[in-house]
Symmetry: C2
Subunit: 133 residues, 2 copies
Amino acid sequence: MISTKGRYALRVMIDLAEHAEQEYIPLKDVAARQDISKKYLEIIVRDLVNGGLVAGVSGKGGGYKLLREPEEYNVGEILEKTEGTLSSVACLSCDTAPCPRKDECKTLPLWSEYDQMTHDFFYGKTLRDLMEN
Amino acid sequence: MISTKGRYALRVMIDLAEHAEQEYIPLKDVAARQDISKKYLEIIVRDLVNGGLVAGVSGKGGGYKLLREPEEYNVGEILEKTEGTLSSVACLSCDTAPCPRKDECKTLPLWSEYDQMTHDFFYGKTLRDLMEN
DNA sequence: ATATTTACCTATTGACTTAGTAGGTAATTA
DNA sequence: TAATTACCTACTAAGTCAATAGGTAAATAT
C-alpha cells in the first residue's frame, strides 16, 4: 500500500506546480489548500528537499519551489523519495538480506515481474500528466 | 507491500498442487518443506478454507487438498483471500469511507489506473503458471 | 534593531498492523 | 484407545503509520 506520505507528496508537488507564478510558496498555503496538517507536511517536504526535488527558503517571503518543469519529474521518483521503496515484497527490497530460498522460490519471478511493471508504470508518468487530469 | 500471509499462501497452494498425488496433505509436511512455522500457516490456511480455495479433513490421514486444478486458480484470488485487498491506496479500498476530495483529486485517477493494472496482472496469472517457473 | 514570517530540527505518541506463539478442543483413522 | 490431524481462541513483542509538540535558525519588512 502507498501510504499518506507518498500520496500527500504528489499532491504537494502538484500544488507547487500549479502555483509556480509565486517564486516561493509557503507550506502553510499548501497545507490549507490541500487540507493536510502543516506539521505533517513538514516531514514529507523534508524528504523532497533531501531528495533534491524541491528547494526551500526560510524567512518572510520564503517557502518551497520546484527545481524543474513539471514534465521533468516522474511520479516514481517522487514516491520513492517519500515511501522509501516501491517494491511489493520484502524479499526484493534492497535494504533487506537476500532470501535464502531465492534460487528455488517459485513465486519470486512473480514479484520481480510485478515490481518491474510497477516501476515502469510510475516512472512513465510525469507530474505534468497528473496536472492534466 | 504484499505481506508474508499472501506470499506464504501462494507457496502453500503451490506445495499442495505439487503433492496432489496424496489425497490429503498434512500441514506439518507443508510447513517442513516450505520452512515456515506450522502454527502460522494454520492462520493462513484458515483463510484459504474460509475462502473456498482448499478443503481440510481432520484426523489421521487428514490434511488439506486443492478443490480445483492448478490452472483454475488465479493468483489474484489467492492473494485477496489472505491479504484482504490488493488495492494500493486506502482511498480506493472498499472498506473505507469514500474520500471527500475524490471529485477534485488529481491523483485518484493514477491510483485507479494502477489498481486496475495490478488486478489484471494477478488475476491473469494462474497457479499453474507459478508451478512452471 | 525589532517583529514577523518562514523553514528546519528533534522528540514523542496512540493506534494499528505484522508475524508470529501458546495452549487447547474436535474429528478421524489405525 | 492411541495417535494424528484440523480447527479454535487468545495473546504478544516489535514495528509502522499518521501524525503532534515544541522548539531554533534564517530571511525579510517595518
